[in-house]
Symmetry: D2
Subunit: 360 residues, 4 copies
Amino acid sequence: MPGNSIGRAFVVTTAGESHGPGNVVIIDGCPPGLSLSEDDLLSDLARRRPGQSLLVSARAEEDRPEILSGVYQGRTTGTSIAILVRNTDARSSDYDAIAELYRPGHADFTYDQKYGFRDHRGGGRASARETVARVAAGVVAKKILAEAGIRVIAWVAQVGDISVSVDPLRVTEAQVEATPVRCPDAVKAAEMIALIEEVRRDKDSIGGVAEIAAIGVPPGLGEPVFDKLKADLAKALFSLPAVLGVEYGSGFRSATLRGSQNNDPFIHEDGKVVTETNRHGGMLGGISSGMPILLRAAVKPTSSLPRTQQTVNVRGEPATIETKGRHDPCLLPRFIPMAEAMVAIVLADHYLRHRALLGK
Amino acid sequence: MPGNSIGRAFVVTTAGESHGPGNVVIIDGCPPGLSLSEDDLLSDLARRRPGQSLLVSARAEEDRPEILSGVYQGRTTGTSIAILVRNTDARSSDYDAIAELYRPGHADFTYDQKYGFRDHRGGGRASARETVARVAAGVVAKKILAEAGIRVIAWVAQVGDISVSVDPLRVTEAQVEATPVRCPDAVKAAEMIALIEEVRRDKDSIGGVAEIAAIGVPPGLGEPVFDKLKADLAKALFSLPAVLGVEYGSGFRSATLRGSQNNDPFIHEDGKVVTETNRHGGMLGGISSGMPILLRAAVKPTSSLPRTQQTVNVRGEPATIETKGRHDPCLLPRFIPMAEAMVAIVLADHYLRHRALLGK
Amino acid sequence: MPGNSIGRAFVVTTAGESHGPGNVVIIDGCPPGLSLSEDDLLSDLARRRPGQSLLVSARAEEDRPEILSGVYQGRTTGTSIAILVRNTDARSSDYDAIAELYRPGHADFTYDQKYGFRDHRGGGRASARETVARVAAGVVAKKILAEAGIRVIAWVAQVGDISVSVDPLRVTEAQVEATPVRCPDAVKAAEMIALIEEVRRDKDSIGGVAEIAAIGVPPGLGEPVFDKLKADLAKALFSLPAVLGVEYGSGFRSATLRGSQNNDPFIHEDGKVVTETNRHGGMLGGISSGMPILLRAAVKPTSSLPRTQQTVNVRGEPATIETKGRHDPCLLPRFIPMAEAMVAIVLADHYLRHRALLGK
Amino acid sequence: MPGNSIGRAFVVTTAGESHGPGNVVIIDGCPPGLSLSEDDLLSDLARRRPGQSLLVSARAEEDRPEILSGVYQGRTTGTSIAILVRNTDARSSDYDAIAELYRPGHADFTYDQKYGFRDHRGGGRASARETVARVAAGVVAKKILAEAGIRVIAWVAQVGDISVSVDPLRVTEAQVEATPVRCPDAVKAAEMIALIEEVRRDKDSIGGVAEIAAIGVPPGLGEPVFDKLKADLAKALFSLPAVLGVEYGSGFRSATLRGSQNNDPFIHEDGKVVTETNRHGGMLGGISSGMPILLRAAVKPTSSLPRTQQTVNVRGEPATIETKGRHDPCLLPRFIPMAEAMVAIVLADHYLRHRALLGK
């Protein structure tokens, strides 16, 4: 049974592989009347694209989206929106050498086990290439959120042992985009860049942590029990490649805290009820509280390495593998637009779901 | 739009509040022919129940489930199974004093914001009482998994600063159940118990971490892209009350690792392909690899505290609150059967989904 | 994969068999603040109940619903509503003689083929008894619709060869309920009753047609393509036992019409655009036009007959069967509240879905 | 909330308008290993295409599908399949004259009411052009069914007052395709053609009835209660443009029958249980019986007429309209491949759903 759709009121369905003709997304449930053009998609697609700097993979294709439906005279019609991004720079031959090998840390083995068959070129459907469709949908989601006064912003908070503390209410996209590592702290960014360069020279890779904030989310989004907002946000982030952990608010640190340290007192401020602190990360009982939503995602080091690794081939025989494709020594910088897209998609979904129940 | 169902092939839908007549679960998609009786449900319901020891809340009601449908002559019929667990020991008057107050860390405020109205007694739908329905469904899920040779086991791995390392392949339910804290290491369990007692005396609470393992999961479960197995498992765990973080495999630790340290080499062993290590936590590309699935969930300290806390009332006026209801100083012990249930529900769902696609 | 839920924004999930402990419905997505009590359910449950007259089955149980959740202080809370209706008059022994026989026209054979196993008592899950859960959900749906100025009314339009023409804008529930056959035309009702009595004396049964109207539906409900309002309404009616056909507007008669005869001209009337005639049955392009929605459902004659019929047993051996249970000689009168419920459930769903997309 | 997807295990999602860049379908849940190429799609796309004969619209574009994903080396991979069919012959200017008019019988008015805005060119999303995506998905569904020994065939059974009786077990696709009217009875086909020509000369249109048969469906497909096979098939057919009625088996005729006339006796034949007659149309209790599934759909006369009709414009002012676009005087011939596609999609879905529950 299929798993290529997400959302209930704002439903995103994707198709496409790394080295096939292209990637497609159908966005169903977008309200009518939003302005939308192919140009609107370019910025986030470019942020996601490999080849932006030495920090990330050198695959240089330009992602030119084509809106196939759902937009008329520059505005969404309320019917399903399809966007196609063709694959233009797919050097399949890079992958011939590893067609029969299972790359450590990759989905080659599990796809073969599941389907008995796979498109080995560049990871096929398991490639991060599929996120191009998510990022396109994220642009549409961000437009819905913008009308509701909600914005989503993400940044690199940690690379290896270098971490940074960022105020989610003050950080700007300009600060994030100021360096290729997408860490808004210039000093730490320089350290991160140096570390990534060092790792690249070692023919290795390095992990990190991304932080994502949603500002302006009104209280009341999220559903009780299974579709708690925290649950749907976590699913969305975990659905991205390489994510091994997600936390919000005080997260794993809460394991060592006492209740008296972790609770956020309610106070009355500027005519509304808020909490004095935000260790609850903007969600209580799985429903948004009106405080900023703060999420963190752990991203593993790139599995593809330009060095020799032990593995087996499809017949189970021992083999060595050395990845020749273009791969990022650190996934974090390109992860930022992907994470923003997934968080925006979930928030847009719950924003529309809330309207169904409450009529506003 | 509603959020009281989870799953696609094995669909669990719940209803019920803390202090209403009872909690109900409808389980849709259970294969026919499984043996199932009310007695089968008792063990896990008892494990979830408050009042088992001084470590957890003293609410003493006995959970007597009634199977209302879907079982005939002791076997599941293949049609929807309904199970009712009545609320028998619900002292609503305990909550009268706080009807107009927003308890810090609780969903009182967010429910009021969402619905404009709430059942304040014991948290209503936001109470951990609703997990009784999940645990009942988990028993059915475990039966499906048992037929497929899959078992799910969870334990307390950390309380405050006391943590333990457990071999998921060797730990037994008997070891877990040997102490009221549900930590299988007897020495560490005693330390945890002492800490919880200390915290209780301080009129405070303490957080912790649960670990959940699924053993015997065949390779191939999980769907590409959005319904990755890791994504659905994370959602299920995050849907439980008080969970602030989830990780699997090397998790957040992977942020500081290099690819050469984090990758698990494939080897051939006993006639099949496995990995030498299991830093990938049993899932690659979101699809099970055949290795044990290893998850960790951070559970915050109980928000209800028997001490004075600052808050506001429903009119936004400053107020103090001192919770009088029966509450656990540490949620972890009772969290174990809930976490097992959610992981079992997701695995049963993906097991059946896989059959739809592959016919086996 | 399961099929015991219907709806997307207003989701109804049911469980229960004819002769088990009871039938349960969980209603997910009902807006908060609607007044709802068990007494509200009694009227439609009584209309659905067998034993109301000689025209229908004599099974005399009284359906006493119990609201288990989702209602507090007489109002819906916005969380999932569970309603239980116990089976109180279930003479299972009536069915012992046919435990191994396949009743013609019933689901005994197909359930055995599907599940390899079935609860033979009274048809189990395939019994019309399960509609008690739908009718309870229909009451909640009607409340949502009433707030939006929409009402649903159904009546018996045909029994055998006796048919009647009814003005959907003028017919009242009082007229429908005036006779046990639920045909609002007193003269035709008497003829229908006489025919049903004749059929009963012949130890036979007779089919008929129900008409269902939804008045006050605003233009704009329904989704393009697959979830057209006509498609979801047809599915809902076809999901009821014994329905062999559904049509709306000019229906099957349109097969013999020319476009110039079938099109409804648009006109401007009382400040709004309407159609001069309503051959389109209130839906164009699958979306409501604001004109009354008019549906017709063909209901087959009761399959259970108190006379000898040829069949086979579970081993495929020839056998005869004579149904001893209590069965209606004509299903139509009891079908009316079921049809109203299903139409109301679909309209409530699309009403809430529309709000998600349009915010109003 | 969106309605551009259908199915649960085999999920078809579409996007596209009549006069936009193209139509796209994403097919999710197709098992891996099926042979599939663009050439496989051509036949059914050509059957659906306008301009095949004078009987149908002269819009002459050739539908060249492009498979964008989900197929590798000529076989399905098990991941989502995307197919694009570009619009190549879309004379938007034909529609300029009616941009502000509400065409009788069309969705212009209801789309404006729903979305406040519409793509008027050729009906936009409400155009029959969108069925190109359905037909492409139907080809994939038919491949799944073929592996299971199931085939779907449809034909024109009635045009105006000319009707034909066809043996579903004997009729062949060659017979259906022998005439442009797609009625397998050569004599009646000639009469139908003459009638359609007459209607065209009258600048009018005519309705009809299509019959669809599914042969080789094993007993057991379909779910109890809401997702009965008959319910999902009816929804699928009603989701097609212009369908005003659906029936199966004895259908509306059953309203006038007695139970003793309508029941099909079970018999034992060739080692299996079958029914002597098939008035139940291959489904009992909403589950397939193993007998041929027989459906009938009423299709209204084309609403677009090349003659003057009364209507109003978007401001509600009286106006006349005369459709200048290319339109079929009878929709039935082109409806046949659409109906086959929808029935195949539903059967493939239920075939895979059955595997989830039963493991075979």
